[in-house]
Structure formats: C-alpha cells, structure tokens
Symmetry: C2
Subunit: 184 residues, 2 copies
DNA sequence: GTCTTCGCTCAACAGTTGTTGACTCAACGA
DNA sequence: TCGTTGAGTCAACAACTGTTGAGCGAAGAC
C-alpha cells in the first residue's frame, strides 16, 4: 500500500500505455475492422470515451498502436543480402504485436495496405541495389515476398506443417531458396 | 425486343448469378467484413432483401460466392512437384474472383482462414508425399508459402517491383528458388 | 483551505449493419 | 378466366458502431 503511488502525469502515461497495449493485442488478433473501441476499452479496463479522448479516433489509435520503435537501421557491416539471410531466424520468431496488427489488417484496411507496401518496397530497393545484376529488383521483390508468405503462413494462418517447426529449422530450410534468388 | 425473353425459372437463375457475380467482385475487393449486403444488392441492381431471401445470410452468400468449381484434380501424368513448377505462370496470371475474395478475407474472417488453411494443408500433403525425404513436409510447406506470399504481394498488395512484371517472368525468376526447396 | 485542472465516467446521439415481415404484381397451372 | 405461386420491393426493427458533451471527483497550484 504505497501512499501516493501515482502522480497525475504518471497515471496518464500508464493508462495510455495500457490502452495501446490492449489495442495492439486486439488489432493483431482481429484486424482493424473487427476491432471495436469498446473491446479495447474493456481490455484496458477503461471507459470507451477515454480512448477517444486520448487518441481522437479509431484510425489514430491504430496508427499509434502499430507505430514501431523503428529497428536500428543496420550495424552497417554486413551486406544487406547476407544480413537478411542471417536474420531469417529472428523474423520467424515471435514478432512484435504491432507488426502482427499491421499484417493482419493489410488486406482489408487500405491505409495498412499502403503502409506495408511502402515498407516492403523499401526493403526491396535496399536489397536490390546491393545485388547489382539486371533483374535484381524482381529477384529482391521475390525474396521479400517469400519472407512475407512464410510469415503469414506461419504466424497468421498457422499451416500445420509450420506450426510446430522451430524458427531455426524454418530458417535453415528456407535459406537455399533465398540464396538461389539472391544469386542470378 | 423478345416477346417473353425470360421464363420465371430463367429469370431466377439470372438474378441469382448476377448477385453472386457482384458479391464475388466486392468480396474480392474489400473482404468479408467491409462488404455490405446493401452494396452487393446495389451492384446487382436488386433489393437487399432479395439477397437475403436467396442466400439466407451474409455468411452463406460468401460461401456460395467463393465456392470454386473445383479444378480438375490432375491430368495424372506429371509428378506434383513438376506440375507445380510448370503451373507457376498460370497461378501468377489473373486469378478467379472467388480465389481473390477468399484470400482477401483470410486474415480477418475466421471461417475463410480455416478454409484456406485446409486447402493449403492439402497442397502441402500432396507435394510432400511426392518428395520423399525426411523434411519433405516442411519443404513442401515452404514452397506453398512462397507461392502464397508472391501471390499476395503481386495481386493484393501490388508491390511496385511486381506490378509491371509479366506472370511468365515472375514464374521464370521464381523457379530456381522453388527447385531448391523441392530438392534437399 | 480554495480554486483550478484534468483524468475519467455516464448517458446519449446518429449512422450503419444484417435481417425480417407484409405487400405488389406478373407468370403459371387448371 | 381465375386462383395460386413466387420473384421482387418497401419499410422497418434491433443491434452495434464510432463519436460527443456534460458532469464527477480527486490531484495539483496558490
């Protein structure tokens, strides 16, 4: 029993984070449309009106919830291709809720689609200009698409053959395939 | 101006098909949740109540609309793996609206997710038992996931690098990658 | 202690949704 | 010709949705 456990500013930050956390979880599980402000509020043990007061609209709540702390760009050492091949395992492991929420919504929420397309286009460009040859952009796009497909099948659809495979094993098995795309 | 262009039975079949066609288009474009009975009815130039009278519920309308005429199983000649590799091009070309509707909805509509998972699991099993070796099932699952990812990126997200690439070129570039998975 | 600020709740509005029942009218069988 | 069937419409209900404004009560400033 602390005397004054929460100052006003502290209280605000906590409930705000509680709402964001609940929103991330529900957006990730149901996608944008099927997520209701009321459901988020209930999960955060808060009145629905408070969610509006904090974030203005459902759309802005979504944007805030899926805004990712921006991964440190690169260690700058490895070639992008080698780095991707090295990080497959990590990308197969448990993804942040924000990413899942984004992916879950990208096929039915135009804004999410735009956002994801932009991010993927960026990865493609980044890979492509480290690959050189003529159809590098296409091959890079197929690498990114492959990662996307495996992630969806694994994390969102739960294909039975992938469900109980460890991230490392998936990464290992997938590597030759991506390698084939990386080279001509 | 035909005298009696439409018998009663004929009329019914036509409007039913008109509704189904409109439903497929809108489901494919917006997914299950964002598709409204009213929108389908309007596109079919029909009263919303008629849609209900014909199909009973939005869910049943969806099921009927995405029910695919079941592709002729196989020509029975080629090995499944070779057949997949041969048909990549076709799968990259314009897909039936029913398939697009299914894919569009699979991340946000539980029933669609279940259906797709089942279909993909089937393809995985079919591929896997033609591949033999130890981790065949995992490799088959990754092949299917790759196809899924490329299709999503190409048809639903519209990655810029894939948007203006011809189906044949995509198939050609993707083949070595899938080949690498098919062999150990 | 007082006044103010502000986190938070309550109750409600307005729009949209899936769904339903009563009704109209032309096609059909006798 | 006449009664019946069934395709199609109209108006409405009930539930749910995002969103809003008035108000309560405790933390903070003075």
């Amino acid at each position: 029993m602390e005397g004054t456990p929460t100052s006003r500013a502290e209280r605000r930050r906590r409930t705000e984070e509680r709402i964001l956390s609940a929103a991330r979880a529900i957006f990730a599980e149901r996608g944008f449309q099927r997520t209701t402000i009321r459901a988020v509020a209930a999960a955060a043990e808060v009145d629905p009106a408070l969610v509006m007061q904090y974030f203005g609209s459902k759309q802005e709540l979504f944007e805030q919830a899926v805004r990712i702390p921006s991964i440190p760009p690169l260690d700058g050492e490895l070639e992008p291709v080698e780095e991707l091949l090295g990080r497959i395992g990590m990308k197969m492991g448990p993804l942040p809720q924000a990413t899942l929420a984004m992916m879950r919504s990208m096929l039915t929420h135009p804004d999410a689609a735009e956002e994801v397309r932009g991010k993927l286009d960026g990865q493609v460009a980044h890979l492509a200009d480290a690959m050189g040859s003529g159809d590098a952009e296409l091959r890079a796009a197929l690498m990114v698409s492959t990662m996307l497909g495996v992630t969806i099948a694994h994390q969102l659809l739960g294909l039975t053959a992938l469900r109980d495979a460890s991230p490392e094993r998936i990464a290992e098995t997938l590597r030759p395939s991506l390698r084939a795309l990386a080279d001509g």
